[in-house]
Symmetry: C2
Subunit: 299 residues, 2 copies
């Protein structure tokens, strides 16, 4: 089938690498220079130390006429408003998959009335080395759940059993997103603040305590069904990614904007809605905001 991928970041390029074998993939980038480079030089895909060159289509998203059957939107949550704004470009698309972190983008999704809308979470590790090079650093899975409509062509992907790149279908979109959000809301800001690898949160006892204190606030406002399972999942992700730096750690250390609004910002909004004070979340949110600002200012 024809698959469109909006966003040429690590996740967008990783999807492009795995889906190009069986499908006709187009990557829609923000900058035309990236599209040109992908067209001219191809996508370089690094895995277990080996590099493979992959040919694909690429063009800037702005003004592109999208005629793909299935489109993955992989831009960061803070860039999604720009996509929503150009919704008419999706008129010929059957199914759109949103792969953002957090839940802040959900409020926009019902406006895609003509398409099947799917939300998903990515549990892969991926590192973008440059505009046309991506490395698969951790093998995980992508979980998809229907937000409205059917799965459309996305159902195919789960059946294809792509090696090292499985798609899983879940029934309840909210629990899929909340599960990921809970993990992100604990691991990302704490590792960014403390400047440690994910595994340190388990190894250093006071850091583990910080996790429990933060989690005890999150569970007051997020629709977590099974608290113990949610906590075990966080610990499990820390263990499996012990030697990795979280994306928020990387964003802070490279002075990029973080996804803190989509993650803890969303938690704070929920707290406001429900009238629950979340002092630690608020304190931690300010810390990350300050680190973004301080880092940028003194860069």
């Amino acid at each position: 089938m024809k698959i469109g991928i909006i966003g040429g970041g690590a996740i967008g390029l990783l999807l492009a690498a795995y889906l190009s074998d069986e499908h006709k993939v187009t990557v829609y980038t923000r900058r035309s220079i990236q599209a040109q480079r992908l067209m001219r030089e191809g996508l370089r895909f690094v895995k277990r130390g080996e590099t493979k060159r992959i040919s694909l289509q690429a063009m800037p998203f702005t003004n592109a006429h999208i005629h793909d059957d299935l489109v993955f939107v992989t831009v960061k949550q803070y860039d999604i408003a720009a996509i929503i704004h150009r919704q008419n470009q999706f008129d010929h698309v059957e199914t759109v998959v949103f792969l953002q972190n957090g839940m802040g983008h959900v409020k926009w999704l019902s406006s895609f009335t003509k398409q099947n809308v799917i939300v998903g979470t990515v549990e892969h590790g991926a590192l973008k080395h440059d505009d046309h090079t991506v490395e698969h650093t951790g093998i995980g899975k992508i979980v998809l759940a229907s937000f409205h409509g059917t799965f459309g062509q996305a159902a195919m992907l789960a059946k294809e059993n792509i090696h090292d790149f499985p798609f899983e279908i879940a029934s309840d979109w909210e629990s899929v997103l909340v599960k990921k959000l809970t993990v992100n809301a604990v691991i990302n800001p704490l590792t960014a603040l403390l400047r440690v690898k994910n595994g340190e949160l388990l190894k250093v006892k006071p850091y583990y305590e910080m996790m429990t204190l933060l989690f005890s606030e999150l569970k007051q406002v997020l629709p977590i069904e099974d608290e113990q399972a949610a906590w075990n999942h966080i610990v499990n992700v820390c263990e499996k990614t012990a030697d990795n730096y979280s994306s928020m750690f990387m964003d802070i250390s490279q002075r990029r904007k973080t996804e803190i609004d989509a993650i803890l910002g969303y938690v704070l909004e929920k707290g406001k809605e429900l009238g629950v004070a979340l002092p630690i979340s608020r304190f931690l949110f300010a810390a990350i905001k300050g680190m973004e600002e301080g880092g940028a200012k003194h860069g």
Copy 2:
């Protein structure tokens, strides 16, 4: 008069430098090698780029027979138990001045029944370059208040008007210590956690918000009389020391033990006593504890 100074850290050496002009000073060190060096090579005192050599007496504290009129105890709060334990060495001392941060040491002080006991706070900036070199990096003052007994010979110091090294007499020891504790409990852990200079807490808006969130917890458990004045004092110290790194920042970055127990640890104890939940203080306390532990382990 004869003045003893227990502790050869930055504050101990700074006191020795300023008091040696008019008094017979002995520095009591923990390590005999430091005492030997001070005896042999003298104290090097750096101020505004100039270095002066000062002769003084020095010996290890352990087993020293102290016959000074006035003794300053300048060791960190976490080392004070060792001093209390050897209280008989103070039998011939008239007046003891305790210059520790926090309030954790106060509970020990009533056991000094034979002496005048004074507590004090140090608002100077001092940097110990090596075992016999200290630099006066910020001119402030020392505030003294009687804990029990009279001021004894300490009253003299306030009258001497030592240039750049004033002593001030206050009436209420608790408010003196609380004022300093409040400043330390806000500025020290935040700057250590965020790894910034004191002035950044004012410059970066979300960091300023973190200060206000933390202060709103402290004022629930510390006996602060005038909240606005206490807050203004914190802001004022940040301004005056904007370009400095706090002692806790320095301790963390040099992988030394911090004074977090004496500062936020004391605040948490008060919270427990009073039954007040202090989520941010607890979270921040764990962060600093973890940074101490993590830094040491992976050093």
